[in-house]
Symmetry: C2
Subunit: 339 residues, 2 copies
Amino acid sequence: VTVDNPPGRTWTMQEVAAAAGVSATTVSHTISGKRHVNAETAARVRGVIAELEYVPNAQAVRLQSGRSRVIALAVPDIGHWYFGRIARGVEEAADARDYGLVVCSTVNADPRREKRYFNMLKNGAADGLVYTTSRSNSDIDELTRHARNSPLVLADEAIPTLPDLPSVSSTLAEGARAVGEHLANLGHRRAIVIAGYPGLNSTEERIAGFRTHFPNALTLFGDYEQESGARLISDLLANDVQFTCVFAHNDSMALGAIQRLREAGLRVPEDVSVVGFDDLDIASLVTPGLTTVRKDMVEIGRRAAGILLDRLEGIDRHPASVVLPTELIVRGTTAPAKT
Amino acid sequence: VTVDNPPGRTWTMQEVAAAAGVSATTVSHTISGKRHVNAETAARVRGVIAELEYVPNAQAVRLQSGRSRVIALAVPDIGHWYFGRIARGVEEAADARDYGLVVCSTVNADPRREKRYFNMLKNGAADGLVYTTSRSNSDIDELTRHARNSPLVLADEAIPTLPDLPSVSSTLAEGARAVGEHLANLGHRRAIVIAGYPGLNSTEERIAGFRTHFPNALTLFGDYEQESGARLISDLLANDVQFTCVFAHNDSMALGAIQRLREAGLRVPEDVSVVGFDDLDIASLVTPGLTTVRKDMVEIGRRAAGILLDRLEGIDRHPASVVLPTELIVRGTTAPAKT
DNA sequence: CTGTTAGCGCTTTCAG
DNA sequence: CTGAAAGCGCTAACAG
C-alpha cells in the first residue's frame, strides 16, 4: 500500500487503519502486541505505519491509559552544577526505562512554583516526583500530603522524621569523620568548620561526623556559595582566631576560603589546610587540586529515579531508601600542620 | 456545599459539576473565563473546586486542545555546567509563560535518543524544541525535516547554512578578537589557540576573530575537556614550541593548560598568559581568577525559549534570530609578555 | 446565562 | 483472528 505523505502531516490511527484496510483496533494491537494479529495483516499495517511515519498521539494514549510515563524532577536550580548532576542521573534512569523527564526549578521556594509541580502530579502530567530540598524542610508537610497519592522520592537530602519517605542520600557523617581523621593524622588540632544550612540533616550529620576527631571545632554557617566561605574566613582573620585547617561543607565555599586566605598572605596548604565536600569538577580543576569528599551525585539521581520507577511499575523493593558511600579524595590542599 | 474529600482522591469535572449542581460546561467556563457565568453560580463552583482540591486532568485538556503547553530541550548533557546554564534560562522562560519543560539528553548522538525527541514533537508530547548541537551538525538534516512541522529554535550554536532556522548565538568572533587585542596590547607575539570542535561554526568564528591580531597563531583542536587542554600543552612543550600566551576556547581547557604549564615549572601569568572562554563559575573560583570571555548562557536559553514560545503563540517576531554580546573579563591569568 | 451533545485519538471490552 | 462500540475527561458548537 502506498499513500501520499506530505511532510508535517500527522495521521490518526483511524487513517492508518483505513489505508491498511483494517480497523483501528487491529492497528492498535499490531503496535502493542497485546493480542495476536495475522502475520500478513500485521506486515501490511506496519508498512503503512512506516510509510506515513505514523506515531500514536501521546495525549490520547495517556488519557486512555491514565498514566503519562513522565516523571518530574524538582530541584532548586537546574542550572547549578550540583543539581545538574542529579538531573543527569535522573534523566538517564528515566530514559532507560522509556520515561520522559520534566524539570521544575523550585527557586526560593516560590509558592507559585511549588503549586505547579504538585499540580503536575495531581493532574496526571507526571506520574511521580523526585524531590531535592534546598535550604529548609518546610515544604515537606505539603509534600507528604501529596505523597500519599503520587509516588515521591527524595534525592540527596533524607528527612529523618519521615522514615517512610523513600530517599537516596550519602554517608555524610562517615565522610566528615574521614576528613577529621585525615586532618588529625596530619597533626592539626584547631579546625574551623564552614557548614551548610543550619537545621538540615545533611549539615548536622557532617558536623557530628567531624566532631569525632575535632570535638571543639569552631563551626560557622555559610550558604554553600563561594562568597560565604570567603566572608567567614575574613571574619575569623579579623578577630585573630587561630586555626590550621578548614573543613567546608562544599567545594565552592572551600575555594572561597582558599581565595581569602591567600589574599591575607597565607599559603594553602603550607599554612592552612583546606578540605571541601562533593568533589564536583572544580575540585580537580584548580591548582593545587582540592582535597574533598566525593559524593556521586549522578548515582544519587539515578537511584532516586530507579526507586520511583520501581514504585510506578509496581515493583516492590526493600529497603526503599538507599545510603550511598562517600570517599575522601586527598589532593593538594591538605598538608601536615605547621609545628 | 460541603463534600467529603478523602486525600488522594481525584475528581472529574463531572463530579465537581454534580456537587455544585451545574453542568460540566459551566464548571469549565468558570475556570477558563471564556464565557460569562452568573456570579453566585461561579462562587459556588469555585467553592466546590477549592473544597475538593479539583485540578483538571492534563491529558484530557491537552487532547482536546491539541496542544501540550510543554516545550522540549535537547542538550548533549543536562548534567554539564555549560548546558545546565542554558537549561536554566529555558526553564525560566517556559515557567514564566506557564509552559512545562521536558529535557532530553542527546548523549553521543545516540540514534534511539534522537528518535525519541523527534517523536515528542510528532506525537504532541511537546509543542516545540530548543536544540543545542553538541559536536557536529550532522543531525541537522533530520532536524530541519521535522522543523517544518514543529517550531524549533537553535540555542548557542547557529548554523550558517540554514539562516531560516531561528537561533540564539553570541558574538564569538568579536569576543575572540577582543582576546587577541588584549594579548597583543600586553606585548604578546606568539600565541597558541586551543580550539573547540573543528568544523563547527562556533570554532571557526573564534579562530577567525583571534586571527585579526594573531594571524599566525598556532591552532590546535581540543574537545572542550580539561584533559585535552593539558595534553596539547604537553605536546607543545615536548616539542620546544615557543609561545607566551594561550587562548583556549573554553574555561575547562584553559584550566587544563594552566595545570600542565605549572607542572612544567612555568608560572601563569608571569611566564605564560592564559585566556579562556565562557566565564562559567569556575573562572572566578580559581586563584588567580581566569581571564576569559563572558557569554551569558542563561540568557541564551531564555531568549531561545522566548522565540520558541512566541512562535507557538503566534507572535511574529522579527528578526527571529538573535546574537548576544560577549564581554572580555580580565582577571589574573594575563600579564605583559616577558621581554 | 446555562445545558446538551459531539468529539479530540486512543484502548479495550464484548461480540463475532 | 478481527471489528464495533464505549469511554478516558475535557472543551466547544449549538441550542435554548
